[in-house]
């Protein structure tokens, strides 16, 4: 990835990223083999340059290993009601233990995500299966934070991938 400074996240994008979006994290290992995991509770820091999210440890061991090894990260945020999607990329992602504020953000995010999917015809208990399955063997979450250096409009179509 081209070197770059952290981007500043504006109000509109902040609202989107912290909304009822589907959040996926992409990383890669030393052989450049990719790994995906689902994340919850995205928060934009007050400095508007860093983002944190939480991943279940049970589903994210490879992701966490990858981040420890190289820090390269791509996170995609997509709103289920209209497929509007943004992808943020950074190079120095690190992991930490979540605090109570992070866990509250996870709960708010899950609740909002379930509500928006109910509008699409999915029962709440079915949406809850997303995260219940992820924490079935371990309830532990790990916080990831990074400073995005690139932001892309990933909304489907021929223009997907346009750098902002």
């Amino acid at each position: 990835m081209e070197s770059g400074d952290p981007v500043s996240i504006g109000d509109e994008l902040k609202t989107f990223l912290e909304g009822p979006v589907s959040v996926l994290v992409g990383t890669r290992d030393s052989r450049l083999i990719p790994e995906i995991t689902r994340a919850w509770g995205p928060r934009v820091f007050e400095d508007r340059r860093r983002i944190s999210l939480c991943v279940p440890i049970a589903t994210s061991r490879k992701t966490l290993d990858n981040l420890e090894a190289n820090g390269e990260i791509a996170v995609t945020f997509s709103l289920p009601t209209n497929y509007h999607t943004f992808q943020l990329k950074g190079r120095h992602a690190t992991a930490a233990e979540p605090d109570s504020t992070d866990l509250q953000a996870v709960e708010r995010h899950r609740d909002a995500f379930a509500m928006v999917n109910e509008r699409l015809g999915q029962h709440r208990r079915q949406v809850e299966a997303f995260w219940r399955g992820e924490i079935e063997s371990s309830p532990a979450l790990v916080k990831i934070f990074f400073a995005p250096e690139q932001v892309f409009d990933q909304t489907p179509g021929p223009g997907a991938g346009r750098k902002l």
Partner: protein, 361 residues
């Protein structure tokens, strides 16, 4: 992950993940080590060791794959929302053949239905070897493989058809049997007109009014494209197809445009039917629609099966646009009320403003 051993989870055991009901995601990696993550509307199962992804636009995912063939896809079961990781290696791109035709017809049919034929064009189907498939959470269990045996129902159906003594009774027996034997409570049967340009309804089941005589242009909409191409079209989550099309349109500012009607010179008949994606699905109101390949000198049938859930919606079935004073839908937001209105008008025996013909989707 370069092993050639079978995936930990057989693709056949998670077949519902490949119906396009819940979007999938794909992560690739550029040679400089930057991951790229994006969503997919559908992953096609090719066989027990391969999947296919449609190639419509050249994007970062494709750029990465051409330089680094490894990818990971996450698919989601609509039955229980279990998530599965598929480790993939890009093998080749098919630009012709049965798989390509099947994917292209489905894409074209949905594009025609949503007014996006000028945007969506299948360039190829990228074929990937599945190196592994496993639950996202190793503690999760895979779906059980369920095979439904319809042999006895087909035998009964054949016996009923054999006892028919004319076209009218064949129509009635067919539509009744679809409901009684196979659970397709919503259906309609269509035939081509003398010029082979339109299909018109001969009979239906499950609607307030029969809709007999209503029409669809061959080459337009899901039914029309399936009839023209003589291909099965299966749509499993049309509401998401519309959302997807709207998302593309919102970024392009594309106008709502209709396709010219097909000539239909090669068409003889087509058949289509709709049913719930899975009776156990947690997604209410989702129906799948099958449009069968047409055969010469025959008839077109459309069915849809009543969902088992008490929360089911009444599927939208019909369409828009009278000929003569044909209405142009300029925005995506026109579509839903227009289709609902057309559905109601059609099955209440009413004409849309400006003309007498209704086009199904």
């Amino acid at each position: 992950m370069t092993t050639a051993s079978p995936p930990a989870v057989a693709l056949e055991s998670i077949a519902s993940c490949f119906e396009g009901i819940i979007p999938a995601s794909i992560c690739t990696c550029s040679p400089d080590g930057t991951p790229n993550l994006t969503y997919l509307s559908i992953v096609h199962q090719v066989d027990s060791l391969h999947v296919g992804l449609s190639y419509q636009f050249f994007n970062k995912t494709r750029e990465n794959l051409l330089q680094n063939p490894f990818a990971q896809v996450v698919v989601v079961s609509p039955t229980n929302l279990h998530q599965y990781r598929l480790d993939l290696r890009y093998e080749r791109t098919e630009t012709a053949g049965a798989l390509f035709d099947r994917v292209r017809t489905r894409l074209d049919a949905v594009a025609s239905q949503t007014g996006m034929s000028h945007i969506f064009r299948l360039r190829g189907v990228d074929i990937f070897q599945v190196l592994d498939c496993r639950p996202m959470n190793a503690q999760s269990s895979a779906e059980g493989f369920s095979r439904v045996d319809y042999l006895s129902q087909i035998e009964e159906f054949a016996a009923r058809l054999a006892a028919c003594n004319g076209l009218e009774s064949i129509i009635d027996v067919t539509l009744d049997a679809l409901s009684e034997l196979f659970g397709y409570d919503y259906s309609f049967l269509m035939a081509p007109d003398e010029e082979g340009k339109r299909l018109f309804t001969l009979g239906s089941r499950g609607f307030g009014e029969s809709g007999i005589g209503s029409e669809v242009w061959i080459g337009e909409g899901i039914l029309g494209v399936a009839a023209e191409r003589r291909q099965v079209v299966r749509t499993t989550n049309f509401s998401r197809d519309v959302l997807y099309s709207n998302a593309v349109r919102s970024r392009r500012g594309a106008p709502w445009r209709r396709q010219p009607a097909g000539t239909g010179d090669r068409l003889a008949w087509a058949a289509a039917f709709r049913k719930p994606a899975r009776s156990t699905s947690g997604i209410s109101g989702q129906t799948s629609r099958h449009t069968l390949p047409p055969e010469r000198d025959s008839r077109a049938v459309s069915f849809r099966r009543r969902a088992g859930s008490p929360n089911r919606r009444t599927p939208v079935s019909c369409l828009y646009g009278p000929t003569g004073a044909r209405r142009e839908y300029q925005t995506a937001s026109d579509l839903a009320p227009a289709t609902d209105a057309a559905t109601d008008a059609h099955f209440n025996g009413q004409a849309l403003p400006g003309g007498r013909q209704h086009l199904y989707r």
